[in-house]
Amino acid sequence: MSSQALSQNKERFELNLGPQHPATHGVLRVKLLMDGEYIVNAEPVLGYIHRMHELMGENRTWAQYLPNMGRLDYLSALSYNLGYVELVEKMAGIEVPERAEYIRVITTELNRISSHLLWFGAFVLDLGGFTPLLYAFDDREQILDLLEAVTGARLTYCYFRFGGCYNDVEDNFLSGTLAFIKRLRSRMPMYHNLVTKNVILMQRLEGVGPISAEMCRKYGATGPVLRGSGVNYDVRKNEPYSIYPEIDFDVPVYHECDSMARYNVRMDEIDQCMRIIEQAIAKIPEGPVMAEKVPKMIKPEPGDYYHTVEAARGSFGIRAVSDGKNQAYRMKLRSPTFSNLSLYQEASKGMLLADALALMGSLDLVIPEIDR
């Protein structure tokens, strides 16, 4: 009897984390098998806001598919816009004016800062600190105001067009951006004093949720998760697109592999984004923001094309298969958090519930992008 009893350990119980749970940031369900406070197995269950974006790509013209991009990752929508328009420009051979490229980079990097700020707040909220979230929101609102003045939207931007941008930026946007960067520079020490150096936060994050570089490779994790594992990989550096080669910036890499490393990577990235924006504003030329000869109806050559950009959460890849029509034959969206989350099951084994949620927060999940 004893051996049989031992084999089936009844002390374990199942716990449903989600679909609605304060820590899952949206509608993600994690099926936890727990042994007391320890996690034996954590299986993420996806699909609660699956919208079949890939099928929409096959039913819409290339231009009509544009607004879908802002709905994937609503926190860094412009990166996704950028990836898609660059892919179509590559397919259709459209040249983009230089001013448009600069505007794209400036707005995308602003969007990346806002995304990281929101992540920062939400992450600390996951760890139980509420106030930093609202401080981060304060700064983020400034970015949203700036971007709203340019794009007309606050969250789900649809600003870039094949061959350029929807419209030109005004000078007060550029000066406003510089003023904002000055403001954020002065706020960063506050964030570090309040949160980064806080001993409780350090205890919560240091050594928690280790993800080795090899694990990242096996699961295809990218972005800050990969860079927090000591791999110097950033699409902006490794396969430069747009005007990134002309801009001098560093890729923050931390070798600790823990949640703190991922936290530090993102906080340092905010600094680097500010550097990029400053340089881009200094260098931005005058000129048109829209290519002159953009075909009314885009019909790329048949074949398949792949393009990757660095979104706020990792490398966002699009594989488009064209059959020469004005619609895509197949549109594959490779979202970074899908891969990042797929390692959660393995990485969270044997962790405490609180630590596992810290790990989940450090992956920076945006569920609509995972479910697509």
Binding site: M1, S2, A5, L6, Q8, K10, E11
Partner: protein, 106 residues
């Protein structure tokens, strides 16, 4: 006029009743925890007796109190050990019912 609260016999009777309840529970309960609860009742019955004698009959009224405190300490120790035994038994047998523990010998 009723003067129950000033009579030794009242307290002794309460103590005896608690003790009896404890014995009753010890025999009746099929599970370890139930028996543990009953055992606490037995200890309480004894304590009440001590306190009663202490108040009415003892020359030195600190003795009964001290003994009661000791009983409490023993009860706490007993509860801790009983809990660990219950957990250990449950881990091994998936049950804390005394009937299921027949192969405890080996």
């Amino acid at each position: 006029m009723l003067t129950l609260s000033t009579q030794l016999n009242t307290y002794l009777f309460i103590g005896a009743m608690l003790f009896g309840f404890g014995v009753f529970g010890l025999v009746r309960r099929p599970s370890l925890i139930g028996m543990l609860i009953a055992a606490e009742l037995v200890l309480c019955g004894a304590s009440v007796n001590f306190m009663a004698f202490n108040n009415f009959l003892a020359e030195d009224p600190t003795v009964g109190q001290i003994i009661t405190l000791f009983i409490m300490a023993i009860a706490a120790a007993e509860a801790a050990i009983a809990m660990s035994i219950v957990i250990a038994v449950y881990r091994n047998y998936k049950s804390i019912e005394t009937e299921d523990l027949v192969d405890l010998q080996g």
